[in-house]
Every structure is written in structure tokens, then in C-alpha cells.
């Protein structure tokens, strides 16, 4: 049963009551909130996700609630609670939905240690996955959003869940987080882009989300295999250029970009090494999406990419 199968009133009733179960990739969350922006966020972005009516085990019980006290009347704030524990300082009320997405990232990154969790976008075409690790400003999210709008299956815009033994990637498709200029770029890029409310003046500037395709959500249970790793680097005015990247520096960057290397230790390091040995690694410098996208297509078409 999907969230969309609930009436608006039932959905709101559950969110404001005992909680709305949502399956997000391999995780089940139980979400509670009375904040209207968050209700709209869930209705818009999570309608295609599975929910359930039966009692079950939840990976995360998440509540977003107004910070109480007198502050409520002056600068209203919102708390993110994992069960009863508040891992973060509260944020301005209007950032509630962004806080939910960040908070859920944090829940996954600090708990799902059955995977090596790499901070990267991952998309798939023809059964072939491309991993795009990215530091802020690398243009990873913009490229990821553009690929998702051109028919690539979105596995994640934020975290690769890699099985250390088999190297299978478990999808955890979520709204793609866009920042600042990216929001306009993606709006202009495709008339099909469904973009939610913008949260202004967050720690990361203005943030808005792109809705993933229904197919990506429907296929969340189907794992993928890495076909190539591409480190994108957006540089205004640059010529689009794909170059092979040294394995040692790729490994160093993967380690730095992984959320749980310190937990997985040797197993994580060996799995990152084997990931890098299993597929070619590139750097992609680009300034134009329309030039970068065909390169990604070519990588997929080429089954004999030099490893």
C-alpha cells in the first residue's frame, strides 16, 4: 500500500497522531509531525512510497516538532527527534522539511553499518551504476538531478550503500537536494522537473528538492552494480573533460567521503579498495550539463571501459 492510497485526511491523521510508516529504500521509518510544511513535503514527495497498516519494527522513529516555550512566538524553531533524542540544535521553523531530509541522512549514516556508506550520488542505466562522489561545490547534485530527469534510475543523490562483500549497491531513493543556483538551473533544464518549496537562508544557502521518478521509487528494492566511478568537478567556463584518475588518490577520496570508515575499519577499507579495482575511475570537469550528459551515456554504452 502506498502513501498515495491514503486519503489526505488519513495521512495527516497518522502524521499528527501515532505516526506515518514510510519505507525508504531498505529502511522503515515512523514519522510524526504537526508542522504543516512537513505535511505538504510528505504529501508531495513521498506519495509513491510504501506504507503499512500493520504493527512492525521501525528502523527510525522520527518526530519533528515545534520548539516550545516562549520562543515559539518570536523566532519559531523546529526540533528533529530520533525517538526521544535530539541529535541537533533546533532550526528555524521554515526549514522543517530540509531538516527532516538531513536528519534522515544522519540516522542512516550513523546506523546502517552493514553497508560501506559513501557520500556520493549514484544513478543507473541499463543495469549499470555510476557512482559520483562529491565534495560541496562539485556540482554532483546538479548533475545527478539532470541525469534523473533524462531517464536514469536514481538510487541516491547523497549516499551509496555498498555491500562490502558483494559490492551490490542498495538504492535509497529520496528527494534530490538542490542548492542555490542549481535550483534555477534544473528548473530551466527540464519542464518535467517537479521541485518543492525552497528553504532560504539555511546553513547551506537556499535548499529545494527535486521529486524522483516513480520508477526510481518503485525499483528501490532492486540493487545495482558499479560500472564506473566519476568524480565531477563543476568549473564555470571550463571545457568538458573526462580524464582517468589515479587509483590511490581515488581511494583516499572515497575513504574521506565515506561516513563510516571509522566504524567498518579494515573491512571498509578493503571494500573501498575492491570497489576501485572493480571499475574505472574518472575525473569529469564540466561547465555545461548538455556536454556532461552525453559523456555519462557513453560510459554506460562502453562495456569495455578500460579498468
Amino acid at each position: 500500500m502506498k502513501v498515495a492510497d491514503l486519503s489526505q485526511r488519513d495521512m495527516a491523521g497518522q502524521l499528527t497522531g501515532k505516526g506515518l510508516p514510510i519505507q525508504i529504500g531498505p529502511f522503515w521509518i515512523n514519522l510524526r509531525s504537526t508542522i504543516p510544511d512537513l505535511l505538504r513535503h510528505v504529501a508531495f514527495f513521498y506519495s509513491e512510497y510504501e506504507t503499512t497498516e500493520s504493527a512492525r519494527f521501525f528502523d527510525f522513529h522520527i518526530t519533528l516538532k515545534n520548539a516550545g516555550g516562549l520562543r515559539r512566538w518570536v523566532k519559531p524553531q523546529v526540533h528533529f527527534l530520533l525517538d526521544e533524542y535530539a541529535p541537533f540544535k533546533p532550526l528555524p521553523y521554515i526549514h522543517a522539511f530540509a531538516m527532516f531530509e538531513w536528519g534522515l541522512n544522519w540516522c542512516i549514516a550513523t546506523t546502517a553499518h552493514r553497508y560501506l556508506i559513501i557520500h556520493a550520488a549514484v544513478l543507473e542505466k541499463a543495469g549499470r551504476g555510476i557512482i559520483m562522489p562529491g565534495v560541496p561545490g562539485s556540482g554532483k547534485s546538479t548533475l545527478c538531478a539532470a541525469m534523473a530527469l533524462r531517464g536514469w534510475r536514481l538510487l541516491s543523490d547523497e549516499m551509496v550503500l555498498l555491500d562490502p562483500a558483494t559490492r551490490a549497491i542498495t538504492p535509497v531513493p529520496r528527494p534530490v537536494s538542490l542548492k542555490n543556483e542549481s535550483i534555477g538551473i534544473i528548473r530551466d533544464f527540464s519542464a518535467m522537473a517537479e521541485i518543492g518549496l525552497a528553504a532560504k537562508d539555511t546553513a547551506k544557502g537556499t535548499v529545494a528538492h527535486l521529486k524522483p521518478s516513480a520508477t526510481s521509487i518503485r525499483l528501490a528494492g532492486v540493487t545495482s552494480r558499479p560500472h564506473a566511478i566519476v568524480f565531477p568537478k563543476f568549473r564555470a567556463g571550463s571545457r568538458t573533460r573526462l580524464t582517468e584518475k589515479a587509483k590511490n588518490s581515488a581511494l583516499l577520496e572515497i575513504q574521506e567521503n565515506a561516513f563510516n570508515t571509522h566504524i567498518l575499519g579494515k573491512v571498509g577499507f578493503e571494500s573501498a579498495t575492491s570497489l576501485i579495482n572493480s571499475c574505472p575511475v574518472f575525473s569529469l570537469e564540466y561547465s555545461q550539463l548538455e556536454e556532461a550528459l552525453p559523456i555519462m551515456e557513453r560510459l554506460i554504452a562502453d562495456s569495455e571501459v578500460p579498468a
Binding site: L252, E256, F269
Partner: protein, 96 residues
């Protein structure tokens, strides 16, 4: 008397090395750090994983290995490497 140095928990060192690349990647489980090492650094740490060594012993064996002179320049490089490794918690010195 010279101090002797050795790897901090030798079994916690994980190496990834590619034959066509000069620098090695080291992950140290205790500190949780991942580092890229030049050939001298790699040689020294691997040596200290095996046994306790004084700086002069290390300088001599590095000279043999790389087939260069055990001059003061190499001795300085060894010394500097040891200090760096020490600050990263990769090596500890003999307190006996």
C-alpha cells in the same frame, strides 16, 4: 642513547598499493586515518611494523633498500618522518 621506535599496533595497518603508482595508501585502524605515503614513508612504516628500530638503523636500512648514501640528508628525512608519524599516532617510542 637513541630511542627505539616501532609501529603502534602493527596489525592495525592496512595497505593498498598499485604497482604503477608511486604512492601507497595506508589505513590505520587505531587512529582511523587514511594517508597517502611516499616510498620512504611506506618503507619506514613497514620496517617498523616488523621490528623496533633506532633512527640510525632505519637510515642504514633505507639507504640499502633505495641504494643511496646514508648521508645526513637521509638521516634528517628519516627523523622528520618519525616525528610526523609520531604526531599521527602511527609510531610510538620505547619507554624502557
Amino acid at each position: 642513547m637513541e630511542r627505539r621506535w616501532f609501529a603502534n599496533a602493527p596489525d592495525q595497518f592496512c595497505w593498498s598499493i598499485w604497482p604503477d603508482e608511486e604512492e601507497a595508501v595506508l589505513f590505520h585502524q587505531g587512529s582511523g586515518d587514511t594517508l597517502m605515503l611516499n616510498p620512504l614513508g611506506e618503507f619506514l612504516l613497514k620496517r617498523l611494523q616488523l621490528e623496533r628500530q633506532t633512527p640510525s638503523e632505519l637510515t642504514r636500512s633505507a639507504a640499502d633498500f633505495f641504494e643511496i648514501d646514508a648521508n645526513s640528508e637521509l638521516a634528517d628525512a628519516v627523523h622528520l618522518s618519525l616525528l610526523t608519524f609520531r604526531s599521527l599516532g602511527l609510531v610510538i617510542s620505547d619507554s624502557l
